[in-house]
């Protein structure tokens, strides 16, 4: 170690560029800085020169080093903005009861709400993807190569933020989940060889994450819960010896996992817990006014005597069911956000039973996670953080909500803290409609105007104090058309809408305060997923819909676009598939893989006969060529492709795992 210490001490540094830093920060420093100083600056707690000589034998020395600088550990204040944590359990329970009373009818909750399934809820609407082109993996500038799959083999929205999927790889092993069964394959031989399977108890409909040799399986708990509400399971499995996978933890949560993300070894879940399953009364069969009145009164009494354990999610790490959230880690959301509980849960993959969790008293809808923030959205008419509870207008479908609340959370390790709230007019289709770069959140929204015509916008927001404030917007995209795909780059966005002629818009985001429409390419056929290929090329996967005397016909379509001149985007090449084919990536971009080294995109389609074809689209000399591979008819969500570090490509289709010859 002494040589590195020597390097540390000898490394020459310039004088600190204080004025440049002050100048750079001053422009955007938040206005509310003028607080009384907290006293003199603590002497720099960081020793510049090293005085310690460590015993290089191992972990010795830790104890003495701890004594050197007595800093307390960093703790996050969970709620730093307008959402206030409950002052007490009593106050929290009163909030749930009060809001519950406004919602209950003679038949129970709003005349009966269908509870969400447990397990992973993939969200409605557009799909679950998107991204950026200039991202980098490792040290290689990604701009020239396009965005490859994550290190575990998944096509993700945000480089560095991994997403759960049906299959994961670490390069030498492949793990897939099918129902309750985890299967492990060795990829080091000429063909993938299944080395083990493991049934996960009371587990179904899962997806997995992979951290080193630890599999984190997230799914539905099939063991009925006491109150018959949906519950979820998070099972970790060690693959230290791949032939003998071993369950290392098994945690159940009360609710549905609506989002899961992984940053390095940090796992973050968004758990949605619906309204409690209370034993409501019912009016008699005729629904006579008297019995309706009696039932309503009874149901109101039931809510008035409901308990916190009925409202708040539970966690069971194997030692019995406990309340997941402390009352003062739950913040009260505006009444317009659908009643229920959203929990943001974090843990390290190596310690899945040691979680940190905070909650909101509402069911948020979309979760988008950038590299350093989590954004949750709540649709509905939101009136701001005032004490003016209004009857909830509940969640309105896509294109219908007049306002959407966005809650921003800072992410620190496994902890999350709510730091700002904002609202946008209109509704947000899915997580791919959101993107954050350099502290600016860009959102594609859709609003229905007075004439009942829907129209889309791009809105830019930035955190200012405890608010996410709008800094710019561009309106009027695709009048009367439906937003079908959005892809965000550092300085621009490509947005596609669909009607009859399907425009592809390019939006300049260089100045967040003034998003500008740069161009619109009107072409037949719309894209439902865009993937950046680097070198000014963009691939659009979508459909071409035509109308003739036989009615509507549609077919899968893949287009290659030159976006090097954003004012004049050109379609270089287009390939159509057979009638009635449909791209799976439209709903799930995990069904897409870009292979930068091969200049090949792999993406699958469903066919008219219910089968699946995998399209291999080669980009050569700025044009596209295709090869179709018929895949056994399986669940489309089990058709995946991924590239291994050595360049080989794996095709998984249901239980079949093979290497694909390109």
């Amino acid at each position: 170690m002494t040589d590195l210490e020597d390097a540390w001490n000898r490394y020459p540094t310039s004088a600190a560029p204080v004025s440049e830093i002050l100048g750079g920060g001053r422009q955007e420093r938040r206005a509310r800085f003028a607080r009384p100083a907290l006293g003199g600056l603590v002497a720099a707690g960081v020793a510049v020169a090293l005085a310690v000589t460590l015993n290089t034998g191992g972990g010795a020395g830790s104890a003495d080093m701890t004594a050197l600088s007595p800093h307390p550990p960093l703790r996050l204040v969970a709620f730093q903005a307008d959402l206030k944590p409950a002052a007490s359990c009593t106050q929290l329970l009163n909030t749930y009861r009060k809001r519950g009373l406004k919602q209950v009818s003679a038949y129970g909750w709003n005349g009966g709400i269908v509870p969400l399934e447990g397990g992973i809820y993939n969200g409605p609407m557009m799909k679950q993807t998107d991204g950026l082109a200039t991202a980098t993996v490792g040290a290689a500038p990604q701009a020239a190569r396009g965005q490859a799959n994550s290190s575990t083999g998944t096509n993700v929205q945000e480089v560095g933020v991994d997403e759960p999927d049906a299959v994961k790889t670490n390069g030498s092993l492949l793990v897939r989940i099918d129902g309750d069964t985890l299967a492990v394959y060795d990829l080091t031989g000429p063909q993938p060889v299944r080395v083990s399977t493991l049934a996960l108890p009371y587990f179904d409909s899962g997806q997995i994450l992979l951290s080193g040799t630890t599999v984190i399986a997230l799914g539905t708990n099939t063991e009925p819960s006491a109150d018959n509400t949906p519950t979820s399971r998070v099972v970790t499995v060690s693959l230290t010896s791949p032939a003998q996978p071993r369950i290392t933890s098994n945690v159940t949560y009360g609710g549905t996992i609506s989002s899961a993300r992984q940053h390095d070894t940090n796992i973050r879940l968004v758990l949605t817990t619906g309204l409690p399953n209370l034993h409501f009364a019912q009016p008699d069969a005729n629904g006579s006014p008297a019995s309706t009145k009696r039932a309503l009164a009874a149901n109101r009494r039931i809510i008035a005597s409901s308990t916190l354990s009925e409202w708040l999610p539970t966690v069971d790490t194997g030692n019995g069911s406990q309340q997941l959230l402390d009352c003062n880690d739950v913040a009260v959301t505006p009444a317009s956000v659908a009643l229920g509980t959203t929990s943001v849960i974090g843990f390290d993959a190596s310690a899945p039973t040691s979680t940190s969790a905070i909650g909101l008293t509402g069911q948020t809808s979309i979760a988008y996670e950038s590299t350093d923030h989590l954004y949750l959205t709540g649709a509905g008419t939101w009136m701001g953080p005032c004490a003016c509870p209004m009857m909830s207008s509940r969640m309105i479908g896509y294109g219908g909500a007049s306002k959407t609340a966005i809650f921003q959370f800072d992410l620190v390790g496994d902890q999350a803290a709510h730091v700002a709230t904002g609202t946008v007019n209109g509704s947000i289709a899915d997580r791919w409609s959101m993107d954050e770069v350099g502290g600016v959140l860009r959102v594609a929204t859709t609003q229905v105007n007075g004439g009942g015509i829907q129209v889309s916008s791009v809105v830019t927001l930035r955190q200012s104090g405890t608010s996410l404030v709008q800094v710019g917007r561009l309106d009027g995209l695709g009048r009367g058309e439906t937003l079908t795909a959005a892809r965000w780059f550092d300085d621009f966005a490509v947005i596609s809408t669909a009607q009859q002629m399907d425009p592809l818009f390019t939006v300049d985001l260089t100045d967040p305060a003034h998003p500008r429409l740069l161009g619109a390419l009107h072409i037949p056929g719309y894209s439902s997923y865009f993937h950046p290929l680097g070198n000014g090329l963009l691939l659009g996967v979508g459909q071409n819909v035509s109308f003739n005397s036989f009615g509507e016909r549609s077919q899968g379509q893949v287009g290659l676009f030159d976006i090097s001149n954003l004012k004049n985007v050109r379609r270089l090449s287009v390939i159509s598939l057979a009638q009635w084919t449909r791209p799976i990536a439209a709903d799930d971009p995990h069904a897409f893989t870009w292979l930068p080294d091969h200049n090949v995109a792999l993406t699958s389609f469903t066919t008219q006969s219910g089968g699946i074809v995998l399209g291999e689209f080669s980009i050569w000399d700025r044009s596209l060529s295709k090869k179709l591979i018929t895949v056994p008819a399986v669940d489309p969500s089990t058709v995946r492709t991924m590239e291994l570090p050595d360049g080989r490509v794996v095709l998984m289709a249901g239980g079949s795992v093979t290497f694909l010859a390109l």
Binding site: D3, R10, S14, T56, H71, L74, T134, A135, T265, S350
Partner: protein
């Protein structure tokens, strides 16, 4: 103390360590200064939160790591590529480059997670609890990663090579 003066003191005090930490975490000399500057500009924008934090250093190093490890797609990393900066470290630039190169070779035997721990805990001398807070991992993990990293570094042949060149 005036708000700006307070921050200026903070910058002057942290600068050399931040730059060195960036180099040890894998940045090239000109990137390291760029990165330290970006981190401090971010701190300035959020200065009231930084100074209200239980622990400023943990906050600052968390920002440094975030900027380096997970935010390469934005600002500093990208601008660096586009500007194609001439390599102009201070003083004898070749010395900085030589040291950085040797450090990178030595550190490359460690995983990113191990590098993070060894730089923060051993070189920057954050406490175990601070390191755990910055990286969002349990304190016990800091301890075990540190001991494995130190063992690996002492056994690493790059160290011997480096020792030979510099002594």
């Amino acid at each position: 103390m005036d708000y700006e003066d307070e921050f200026a003191d903070f910058v002057a005090g942290r600068w050399p360590t931040l730059v060195r930490a960036a180099v040890f975490l894998g940045a090239a000399p000109h990137e390291a200064e760029d990165l330290a500057q970006t981190t401090l500009v971010l701190c300035y924008r959020k200065w009231d939160r930084v100074r209200a934090a239980d622990d400023r250093d943990a906050y600052v190093y968390r920002m440094l790591i975030n900027t380096l490890r997970s935010d390469r797609r934005t600002s500093w990393w990208r601008k660096r590529d586009l500007r194609d900066l001439p390599d102009q470290p201070v003083g004898d630039g070749s010395e900085a480059a030589a040291i950085a190169d040797a450090v990178h070779r030595a550190m490359s035997s460690l995983s990113i997670e191990q590098q993070n721990v060894v730089v923060l805990r051993y070189f920057v001398q954050l406490t175990e609890a601070q390191t755990a807070a910055v990286l969002g991992i349990p304190a016990g993990t800091v301890k075990s990663r540190l001991s494995r990293s130190i063992a690996a570094l002492s056994a690493n042949h790059h160290l011997a090579e480096f020792a030979g060149g510099s002594r």
